[in-house]
Amino acid sequence: MIETQSLCVSLGGAQVVHDIDLTVERGRLTALVGPNGAGKSTLLAALGRLVPPAAGAIRVDGTEIGRIPSPDLARRLAILRQNAVIAPRLSVADLVGFGRYPHSGGRLTAQDHDIVRDCLADLDLTDLAGRYLDTVSGGQRQRALIAMTLAQTPDALLLDEPLNNLDLSHVRRVMAVARARAETGAAVAVVLHDLTVAARHADHIVALKSGRVFASGPPEEVVTPEILSALYDTPLEVHDIAGKRVVLTV
């Protein structure tokens, strides 16, 4: 579980995330939504200890995040960044294997290899395992990065726009894998732009606007035309189609 208390984060001298109290609970999938520049990535980076808080506190399973030794934290928490760029020329399998680094350090054990194989299969990458990252497509690359994050087998899984570049079937697959991780007890937070997907797969939605929590609650409460139209400053419709909430721009 990750909780924040009056969390403020500054970037380049300007405060972009203000006074956030939020809990990413274990066993649940929490979606972070909001317009461009709302502070979703900044908040997620702070939760993933990549950006230090300007004020307030972040606790992971009750312990202040800064007090957890970095190698220890890497075994418990994994984060996928929105614009991750992997410069070294690695094969897909090698990249995913590096996700095991916090656990195995040097050589991968037989168990590590099993986990890597499962993560590759979960992301439908088995056939691409031997390909170099600079020879796969954008969506395949994104899936490889997700698989690497999953290979860290974290208790807290943070994914910043994991659905970028993915086709419909892989959107479903990634959300199913994220859900499965939540159901086995992990705390999962995912930044999403597709509100229909968020309404469908999340247990809890946190909507950010201008660096503050604009609304939060279960999908039924947050995914409403009033809240969403105000959140994005544009008219939006929410329809019930076959028992599911579908968000439409007009």
Partner: protein, 311 residues
């Protein structure tokens, strides 16, 4: 993985050739043995250590700079080492060799750290800006060195330090290169971590790696290997660029798997160029730095054209 044993065999064969080729004729008696022990064997070892060290230093530097077009000899490390060497020579002309080595190493450390700080600010969409910056940066350091040396009549030393050659290598005059060899071996233990560092600071932190520490270690290895090489045999260009790039194309950048091949290929390339230099205008010698300068520039151009700018 088949290419590493192949490279090892090639290297052994080259070493035997290197022991046999040279101005003095080899005889199967005490005199011949003496020639081998005093001159040919040290020269061969020096070429191997230099090549392996610079190739490994090159690939580490490419990981730290997150750019595949940099290497110690073209991005200021070698030039900074030269500057440090000239400075020490001016301040304390009678300084012992190890002191000169220390001065060159310190200057190389500062120079390389300065280069990495400079290129951190460059936009990642324009990868060629990094080597361009390195060439200009190295040029400025080199100009400062030349100015100092010219003022104080040290120009002939500059030529020796800035254009590597092995003709002066003899027993007792190359042993510092074993330091470089030891650091090259040390790099193997950190291969996985250097690859992670190549993924960037955030990815490193995400995997629980102390990014600053691995940067500092890499910086130290690159600087010491380069400084030791400059002081002992002179700057040898392009090895650190050409070898890692070719290995990367063939085998990728997972250094835990590829570093042996990088080291062996670097050693083989420098030794082959040295042998070539001995026979090309026999009985005169062409410095290995000159041969690699020509060869390396050609391969570099090919690399630039054959690989899309954003790799």
């Amino acid at each position: 993985m088949t290419s590493t044993p192949a490279a090892l065999c090639g290297l052994l064969a080259l070493s035997l050739v290197s022991l046999a080729v040279g101005v003095g004729t080899l005889s199967a008696d005490a005199e011949g043995l003496w020639l081998v022990a005093i001159s040919r064997a040290p020269r061969t070892a020096a070429a191997l250590l230099t090549g392996a060290g610079l190739a490994v230093a090159g690939v580490i530097m490419q990981m730290l700079a997150r750019n595949r077009f940099v290497e110690p000899a073209t991005a200021g490390t070698g030039q900074a080492a030269g500057l440090g060497l000239v400075a020490i020579t001016l301040l304390a002309p009678a300084a012992a060799l190890w002191l000169k080595m220390a001065g060159a190493t310190a200057a190389a450390l500062i120079g390389t750290a300065g280069f990495l700080a400079l290129v951190r600010r460059l936009p990642p969409e324009a990868p060629l800006l990094v080597p361009l910056t390195g060439i200009v940066y190295g040029g400025i350091l080199g100009a400062a060195t030349t100015f100092l040396a010219f003022e104080r009549d040290l120009m002939q030393y500059i030529d020796i330090w800035m254009n590597g050659e092995f003709s002066g290598v003899m027993l007792g005059r190359y042993e510092f290169l074993w330091i470089s060899g030891a650091l090259t071996a040390l790099a193997f233990a950190y291969a996985r971590r250097f690859t992670i560092a190549g993924m960037g600071e955030e990815a490193s932190t995400g995997l629980g790696l102390d990014y600053r520490r691995i940067m500092a270690l890499g910086l130290a290895i690159v600087s010491i290997v380069t400084a030791v090489t400059v002081v002992t045999v002179g700057l040898v260009p392009f090895v650190g660029l050409v070898v890692p790039n070719i290995v990367s194309r063939m085998r990728g950048d997972n250094l835990a798997a590829t570093l042996p091949l990088v080291a062996l290929s670097g050693a083989g390339l420098v030794l082959a160029c040295d042998i070539l230099g001995r026979v090309l205008r026999y009985p005169f010698e062409v410095p290995v730095g000159t041969i690699l300068g020509v060869l390396g520039a050609a391969v570099f151009l090919w690399l630039l054209h054959a690989r899309p700018a954003r790799g």
